[in-house]
């Protein structure tokens, strides 16, 4: 009952006209960038970040979160119509979505993905309502040792459980932690890694880093890529409606996808992309005729879309109840909360109930808005696909530069953005992932603080991390994740070394 009362309070916050407008703007921007290939949710959120400085905390979070889950909805549109994933998590949707669209069923595929996204999102929100407060209450007993261990697990999971080389992921986490060192040490007042630059005394700023790595680098990578004007066929409202069999074929995949997505979203460090891949693999395994997949199976779009939307919602659980972001996009949101003076953690829900429940209520409202934006207005989104990138990216660069500059009217921040943009571009080219770097940057300073405190309390005994059962659990899990991720590399190592010795 208390939950319902809280939720009602949340709706009272989120249904204020101003908040509704903010939520609408957020999901529309999200939908917009999700639809457009070449702009990800990450770039959109960092570009919108400076705007939210002028809003109050709740409004800022509602808007940024709206961009985030709005982009998940939009991402599937370009996947289905053009075989171009608008966001990484909708890459799987291409596999069956595009064949469906070539077979003249684009409308049905879009409709089913919208509905299954909605269902996935709703299930994720329900779980969040139940889990987040309970987890927060449990976490009130955590001491610094537990926090350090759980953050360690989060960083390791985020860097190794993704596509690509786990070594590169781990490297990027550590580089992020190292970037977090820059500035005056909180305990001793000692400036670290500032190279005597005054502007670096209070650290590398999140905005320059995020805009560089995710905005500028993405533009550098995409310029010249989309030179052909994109043409997509128009979609009529009539062609959207699925047949009775198609409805029936989508029910279970949607629910299975939601379950998989929710479970993966809750884990710190894993997000929508992995969830959608796992959901697709599961559908293929349980299908009576797996050969239909890749040729336009409706299950192949319903399940991954449900999964990534569920994961996006449940990823807020560890963030809001423990202060540990589920993925890089949420890490940016957490950064935005910290800029507004809120440290996400177990106390957040009880000390800022308006913000927490208002945010949850806005998720429902946002999901309903997206449903409305998607189904009747699908024709508009299809036309948005044809906006040429050559017009978009100078505008994006402009928003990046103004946003960074206006933060404290210092051109230095703009130069930093350029530097991080260049670095980010080479990271992309060499396949060093940027998301773990950002997580390391945000969690690093918190981890250092908790490490320091835990060791102070234990009198310098590192065993404290193993003696407290919950902390020990997280440490063991971290070791297991690392071992699993590096196993293929280690197993091949002797053969490689022998091989290269034989060559010489």
């Amino acid at each position: 009952m208390e939950t319902l009362a809280n939720l009602a309070d949340g709706f009272a916050v989120a249904l204020q006209p101003g908040m509704l407008l903010i939520c609408f703007i957020g999901v529309t921007i999200g939908m917009f960038v999700g639809v457009l290939p070449g702009i990800g949710a990450m770039a959109a959120i960092v570009i919108a970040l400076p705007i939210t400085y002028h809003l109050d905390t709740t409004a800022a979070l509602i808007m940024l979160a709206g961009i985030f889950y709005g982009a998940q909805y939009g991402g599937s549109t370009a996947s289905i119509l053009l075989n171009l994933p608008g966001t990484p998590s909708s890459a799987v949707t291409c596999l069956d979505g595009y064949p469906l669209s070539k077979g003249g069923k684009a409308g049905i595929a879009l409709f089913i993905t919208t509905i299954s996204s909605f269902v996935g999102g709703c299930i994720g929100i329900l779980l969040m309502i139940w889990f987040a407060p309970a987890l927060a209450e449990f976490a009130l007993r955590f001491s610094s040792a537990e926090y350090f261990s759980i953050m360690l697990l989060g960083l390791i999971a985020a860097s190794t459980l993704s596509v690509g080389s786990p070594l590169k992921g781990l490297t990027m986490v550590l580089v992020g932690v190292a970037l977090g060192f820059v500035g005056v040490d909180q305990n001793t007042g000692q400036p670290r890694f500032t190279f005597d630059v005054t502007e670096l005394m209070d650290g590398v700023n999140l905005l320059s880093l995020g805009m560089g790595l995710f905005g500028v680098a993405e533009i550098l990578n995409n310029v010249g890529k989309f030179t052909e004007p994109i043409q997509a066929n128009s979609i009529t409202l009539r062609s959207l409606l699925p047949s009775r069999e198609e409805w029936r074929a989508s029910v279970w995949p949607t629910l299975r996808g939601s379950a998989i997505g929710s479970a993966i979203g809750i884990l710190p460090g894993t997000g929508g992309t992995i969830a959608s891949f796992m959901a697709y693999a599961t559908e293929k395994r349980v299908a009576r005729d797996p050969s239909r997949f890749g040729r336009g199976a409706i299950e192949g779009v319903a399940s991954p879309e449900a999964a990534n939307n569920a994961a996006v919602q449940t990823a807020f659980i560890p963030t809001l109840s423990l202060g540990i972001p589920g993925d890089a996009v949420i890490a940016i949101l957490m950064g935005a909360m910290m800029i507004h003076g809120i440290i996400p953690g177990p106390q957040f829900i009880t000390s800022h109930p308006d913000t927490f429940w208002g945010l949850i209520a806005s998720f429902w409202i946002g999901n309903v808005l997206l449903l409305i934006l998607n189904i009747p207005l699908i024709g508009i989104w299809v036309r948005i696909l044809s906006i040429p990138y050559s017009i978009l990216y100078p505008a994006m660069l402009f928003f990046i530069c103004v946003g960074v500059y206006a933060m404290r009217n210092n051109p230095f921040d703009v130069y930093m953005t350029m530097v991080f943009g260049g670095i980010g571009y080479f990271m992309l080219k060499f396949q060093y992932p940027a998301a773990p770097l950002l997580l390391g940057f945000i969690l690093g300073p918190l981890m250092e603080e908790h490490l320091k405190r835990a060791l102070q309390l234990s009198g310098g005994d590192f065993a404290v991390f193993f003696e407290r059962p919950i902390s020990a659990l997280f440490i063991v899990a971290s070791v297991l994740v690392i071992a699993l991720a590096l196993m293929p590399f280690i197993l091949r190592l002797p053969a490689w070394l022998r091989g290269s010795a034989a060559e010489q």
Binding site: T171, L397, F398, V402, M418, Y432, L493
Partner: protein, 148 residues
Amino acid sequence: MAASRINLAEIAGAVAVGVIGLIIVWMGSDYSVGTPRRIGPGFLPVVVGCLLVALSIGLVIEALRTEPSPLDIKIRPFLLVMLSIPAFAILVERAGLVPATASLVILSALAERPVHLVRILVLAVLISAMGVAVFVYALGLPLSAVRW
């Protein structure tokens, strides 16, 4: 299976990681490391730096075993986009938002081929006008449209 060609670019990247690690260890050991009971500001940097050096060794081994893939770095768009950003930063203080925006848009838009000069100029005018309307008038940021 041995790689037929050595992946120089990847190895250079891996070595760069190691060099960064060494620099962090070297600078970090200047800030006191402290004792376990009271770890100093240099403790974690030294640990992180050492881990980076270890990882770079792993990355070199990994790079030795992968076929080089074409890097496909386009120099012209890279330079133009990278230049457009400091151009904005310099001009926004000295000449105001409009010249800064116009030069940002024109420089960066030149990166795309083929160059449509008229379209670029129209885009520059539109984005500058929007910038002044939104940031100077609507949001009231302390920026001037044109500074003399």
